[in-house]
Amino acid sequence: MVGTEQRKTPRIELLTSKSGTSVPRISGVYLHSMLDPKKEAEEFAQRNLNAIKESSSVVILGLGCGHHILETLKVGQRFHRKFSLTVIEPYTELISYLSNDLRTLLREDLFSIFCPANPVELFSNRAFLEVLLNSPKVIPHRPSFDLHRDYFNRFLAYRIPENEWPVFKENLEQVFNTWPVKTSNDFLLKAFHALLNEESETGAIYE
């Protein structure tokens, strides 16, 4: 679980569904079905079957009590030898409502939860970036998404500041064109520049 900044959480009510499993209610929103959350979770996994089949990495927006997480994990592991499941959830407190089964799976790193306060925190987190590098499919858990629409939309719309890359590339260009090099790392920066510019395709270098 990752999250450095504490968020102010409204009161979470923990209710029991007709089938006997827990359902949290936040600000009047039920995060799972009050009839049968397990069945609803199965339907969730079925509805997103194509996404789960296509990618061995899935990011789910919203934790709830984790019923849908458990089902997604089950389905994902059927299709992929190594299945990565990541959850983004603003309310850290919800973790304490996870079932024992899910807590065990969390301890065993079979899925991970990120509770960042804002997108910058999340997109500077190397562990989350590693998840993104595997081109995950993003699936919203609808009740959680509706509850935190602004929060999740900010993640989905996240972009680094516009001038960051041009400045970085300009600096890189400067290192690339400068001899002598000051440190060994300058060789690496030059190599990185060559890689980005695909100059390695040109064959011999000093014709």
Partner: protein, 532 residues
């Protein structure tokens, strides 16, 4: 145990081509451990290389994706790249071979060497000043000569072996072949052979690689069609169409199959399956470099159609007895980067005709005693083996290229007396170029001595140096000497004019000496003028 890293950031064909060097190194240094650094996208070509202890890879596509998508922090791609290279650094390699010799591989080599000066680099790297440091004369040949000479006098394979200092290993299967594929290919082809075999007559199976990775290298549809017809007309031969597992190639094969009423055999094979397939064919006709390299590694006879950008003398097939058909056209080999400027476009594809290929095939598999070349405008080169020098030769190479080769050998201190002679007119042109280079060198030497004393540059020095450099662009053996000098001059880094003059003097003296060697060689290798 000594650990060697071979950096090869090229494509599939080049990865396979490196198997020759790897095999030779394994034979010469059996206790050494060999690892490879490749691009992730070329990694699948490494799966059937023999005796590699570890494959490291740079996931270029991922790094490019990270650096182009605005959700990732700017430093992430760099961080990931550094982690990959630092993992390699931490393995404690004793030797690094800069095999692909491109900018990226050279800078990675330079980083590794700078971080750990105990590493022995083979090939080139750059020092902190930016000087290019070659490991030996052959590294200079590889970096400064071969890429800039259109009709390269030395094959890459020979240059690699000489650069590393190991003898070439002949006649060995140099890739590992999966037993399941091997059995499948053997059974399948035995079945075809026994179906076709009639009256005790043996039928030879001839692979035709339909497409290459570069459309510039492909032979035309008409040529393929006529070639299939000719092979089918011969009761001793049967064509096997080879394709890679891609939709466009399937469609292409289907086109031919339709034309022959679905009677053709098409083998769709990835690299591993292709290796197994080739070992059970009697010969392969290919415009594709990967197929050619794999055929060489599995000792399968080859008729190579060398179109486009890979010059035969530098990158051609090296199986003894193989035939390389090149278009007889001044623009061959063409630049991989430029569009065809000849009208009609890609006329070279038509110059190597089906008839030429078929005749070459018959000669290659021993059905003909002679093949003197194409009627349609192709030029055949025959791969032979020179036992004295241990490397392959191309019979049919023009005398000028052979002369350039013997000059490189002379510079390397290798005696070669088989490389033929130069026609009188060509020799005269070369003599004039040497004389011009010598004159400029003498002037430059005189001027540089005075600069070393006065510390003031002179216009005459600049002019004569410029004239020497202009010879580098000429297609002559003299250009080899001036290119070596140019590489050294470009490496001068001193801020002190007197020191620079002294360094230049040393380079010019070496150039003068090399020009003398060239003159001597020219005298030995010129056809005497006919006396009337």
């Amino acid at each position: 145990m000594s650990k060697t890293l071979l950096i090869n950031l090229k494509r599939f064909g080049d990865i396979y081509a490196s198997a020759h060097l790897i095999t030779s190194m394994q034979k010469a240094m059996p206790s050494e451990q060999f690892s490879l650094l490749v691009f992730d996208e070329s990694k699948k070509a490494t799966t059937n290389l023999k005796g590699i202890s570890h494959i490291y890879s740079i996931d270029r596509q991922k790094l490019l994706r990270v650096s182009s998508q605005p959700i990732y922090p700017t430093a992430l791609a760099l961080e990931l790249f550094k982690e990959t290279i630092d993992t390699i650094l931490s393995q404690g390699f004793n030797k690094v071979i800069n095999y692909s010799n491109d900018l990226l591989s050279t800078l990675i080599t330079s980083y590794l060497k700078d971080k750990n000066p105990a590493i022995q680099v083979i090939g080139i790297y750059q020092d902190k000043e930016g000087r290019v440091i070659p490991s030996n004369f052959w590294a200079t040949v590889f970096n400064d000569l071969l890429p800039s000479i259109e009709q390269s006098p030395i094959h890459f394979n020979e240059c690699y072996h000489r650069m590393v200092g190991v003898p070439f290993v002949h006649d060995e299967i140099k890739v590992s072949i999966k037993e399941s594929y091997n059995t499948q290919a053997r059974n399948y082809f035995s079945q075809i052979r026994s179906t076709l075999q009639a009256d005790e007559m043996t039928v030879q199976l001839i692979g035709i690689q339909l497409k290459s990775s570069d459309p510039k290298k492909d032979f035309s549809k008409e040529t393929v069609m006529q070639l299939i017809e000719k092979i089918l007309d011969n009761p001793h031969l049967y064509p096997i169409l080879l394709i890679a597992p891609f939709d466009n190639e399937r469609e292409y094969a289907e086109y031919f199959n339709k034309m022959f009423n679905q009677s053709l055999v098409v083998v769709e094979a990835d690299f591993e399956a292709l290796s197994a397939t080739l070992t059970h064919l009697d010969a392969v006709i290919t415009p594709d470099t990967v197929t050619k390299h794999l055929a060489n590694l599995t000792s399968t006879p080859v008729v190579e159609i060398s179109l486009g950008s890979a010059p035969a003398a530098r990158q051609g097939s090296i199986g003894v007895g193989d035939i390389i058909l090149t278009p007889h056209i001044p623009c061959y080999p063409c630049s991989a980067k430029k569009d065809c400027r000849i009208t009609p476009r890609h006329v070279c594809h038509k110059l190597v005709t089906a008839s030429d290929i078929y005749q070459a095939l018959l000669f290659r598999i021993g059905h003909r005693d002679q093949f003197e070349g194409g009627t349609g405008g192709s030029h055949p080169l025959y791969v032979t083996y020179n036992s004295t020098l241990g490397y392959h030769e191309l019979k049919g190479t023009d005398p000028k290229t052979l002369f350039a080769k013997s000059f490189i050998y002379k510079l390397a201190g290798i005696t070669s007396d088989y490389l033929g002679t130069l026609p009188h007119k060509t020799a005269e042109d070369e003599r004039d170029t040497i004389a011009n280079a010598m004159r400029c060198t003498q002037v430059a030497l005189k001027e540089v001595s005075s600069i070393a004393i006065t510390g003031k540059p002179t216009q005459l020095f600049a002019k004569s140096l410029q004239e020497i450099m202009s010879i580098c662009d000429q297609n002559s053996a003299t250009a080899i000497a001036t290119k070596i000098a140019r590489a050294k001059i470009e490496n001068m880094r001193s801020q002190n004019i007197v020191q620079n003059a002294k360094d230049a003097e040393t380079i010019l003296l070496e150039l003068r000496n090399n020009l003398h060697l060239l003159s001597e060689l020219l005298l030995q290798r010129t056809v005497p003028r006919a006396t009337l």
